[in-house]
């Protein structure tokens, strides 16, 4: 019963170990180190989407706003306050989190498509603010800023692409460990229960809105860190980062890799970011090629790549009693008993 969990745990550790050799692998595959940084930071942002979409069942379509807030937070802190690398990161995180705190109370009582639409609307509000307040944000042109040096204790170093990758990597590991803890905590288990049957969660004496509130704020914080890293990677922040199109990309990656699995967003981000990079050098119509690939994936992997693989493995072994993220356990050999359909009065 525990073996499935142990396999998943060691699989996760193996993935993190392989990623530690990222720049070397990149050289081998002729990939820029900065592309690998983009993969990991995008995955961090998509993990926030995954917490809401994959675990809680809430279609958050405005996550790019928090991502953009992170990038602007880093940009403004460097440009206007001469902040160091870590402080810029921290301010980016705080900006994303603050965005979440502002939006969450309005999203709380909405569900399903209404939640999605309202989150798009809020996302677009941030987009237009960034677009219009050009004195602060540089407007349509965006704002360029230098990447400040990293100062940790005695270490004082300019951040080249390799060091940048390792900063992103370190935060990715922290994000994964944090995510792993959250989805296994009582809080995360309750989010999964809300996805299944919110009414029952309420009738167990829990105010589901409180859980959703914290879920949104955590997702926004993940997006904020990711956005700050992206800004520092590009040395640039621009309004299109906040566009709903960008939010759609996060959703796509999450679904592609496997919503409701810890490493699904990473797989989605690898395919999306590297796929875009490779295909766009071959053809300017890269979106068509990538789109066709996504359609094929959705047909071939209905629960996302990792979700479908996890399902297949689960079907071959006994159902795991306390893993909440491996999808529904397979039917047992005792067979299904027909459930009498009923209508509530």
């Amino acid at each position: 019963m525990r073996s499935g969990r142990r396999t998943a745990l060691w699989g996760g550790v193996a993935v993190l170990v392989v990623l530690a050799a990222g720049p070397a692998i990149g050289t081998l595959l002729h990939l820029d180190t900065s592309i690998l940084s983009e993969v990991l930071l995008t995955a961090i942002g998509a993990m926030g989407v995954n917490l809401l979409l994959g675990y809680t069942g809430l279609p958050i379509f405005g996550n790019a706003a928090f991502f953009g807030l992170g990038a602007y937070g880093a940009a403004l802190s460097v440009k206007d306050f001469n902040a160091g690398f870590l402080l810029a990161l921290l301010i980016g995180l705080a900006a994303g989190l603050a965005g979440g705190l502002i939006v969450a109370p309005f999203l709380l009582r909405r569900r399903n498509i209404y939640f999605g639409l309202l989150s798009i609307a809020f996302g677009q509000v941030f987009y237009f603010i960034a677009y219009r307040f050009s004195d602060l944000t540089g407007g349509e042109d965006g704002m360029a800023f230098p990447r400040p040096p990293l100062k940790v204790g005695p270490l004082h170093s300019p951040v080249d692409e390799t060091l940048m990758y390792y900063v992103v990597y370190a935060l990715f590991v922290a994000a994964v460990v944090g995510f792993w803890l959250i989805v296994r905590s009582p809080f995360g288990q309750t989010l999964v229960a809300i996805k299944q049957n919110e009414l029952r969660v309420r009738y167990l004496g829990l105010n589901a809105d409180r859980f959703i509130f914290v879920g949104i704020v955590v997702a926004a914080a993940y997006a904020g860190v990711a956005g700050a890293l992206y800004g520092l990677l590009l040395r640039f922040a621009f309004p299109l980062l906040m566009d709903w199109h960008e939010s759609g990309n996060f959703i796509l990656m999450t679904l592609l890799g496997g919503a409701g699995t810890i490493f699904g967003p990473l797989i989605g981000a690898i395919i999306f970011v590297i796929g875009k990079d490779i295909i766009s050098t071959i053809t300017p119509a890269w979106e068509i090629v990538l789109g066709a690939f996504f359609i094929a994936c959705v047909l071939g992997f209905p629960r996302g790549i990792l979700g479908t693989i996890a399902d297949t493995i689960a079907r071959r072994s006994a159902p795991d009693a306390d893993s909440l993220d491996a999808g529904p356990p397979a039917p047992t050999d005792q067979g299904r008993v027909a459930v009498t359909p009923e209508t509530g009065a």
Partner: protein, 257 residues
Amino acid sequence: MNGDVILEAVDVCKHFGGVQAVDHIGIRVERGSLHAVIGPNGAGKTTFFNTLSGFYLPDSGSVRFEGVDVTNEPNWRRIVRGMSRTFQTPSIFPELTVYQNLLIGTQARRGVAFRLSLPSAKQRADIDARIDELLGFVNLRAASSRTVGELAHGSQRLVEIAMSLSTEPKLVLLDEPMTGLAEAETARIMSVIHDLHDRLGLTVLFVEHNMRVVLSLAHRVTVLDRGRLLAEGPPAEIAANEAVRDAYLGKEIIERV
């Protein structure tokens, strides 16, 4: 029964569009009693029940639980106060295991549901022990790791009853617990309802239209008809009540009982 009222509703009204589903209905549920609400289809039983449990807020009237006015309280807060309920169609987490279904409420009652960190080994052992106790009560220990959506309907009902106990309620509301069950499953649920009262000492209020079940289980019966209160009293009195016979029972059924 000592006259201590655990749940009291006064003059509750609820309408949907032009339909007055519940029309000035009141009830007094005594602590420690097994109290049934009966009535023909469309009598307003479930709607009334829903106003008691906070599924709907009533248009007018009041609901008091242990002397506290809970009329306009959200449903989850009533659960915290010590109510719990089941639904006609079992309200469960279909893709989770039986264990996980019981985990959520158990953690809620222990005040750890909101924690973002893993529970300590001691807390976990305490929670597991409680879940094991609940599984034992409904006799589902063997099904602990099975997905609830795959279980037979009667077993899903039992899981739901165990879930409603996971919050350690004082009053359990059961909405038509026998609906859609085979004979053997009905007997099993009836014995569980008995145990809720006799072994756990809980107050039980249940909606039921199976007269045989009501007359054999309940200490007190409230009869509704077309949104109004028709009669209330001990089962023998209800069975003999002319108005009840006319409205709902039919002579035949009572004689069979």
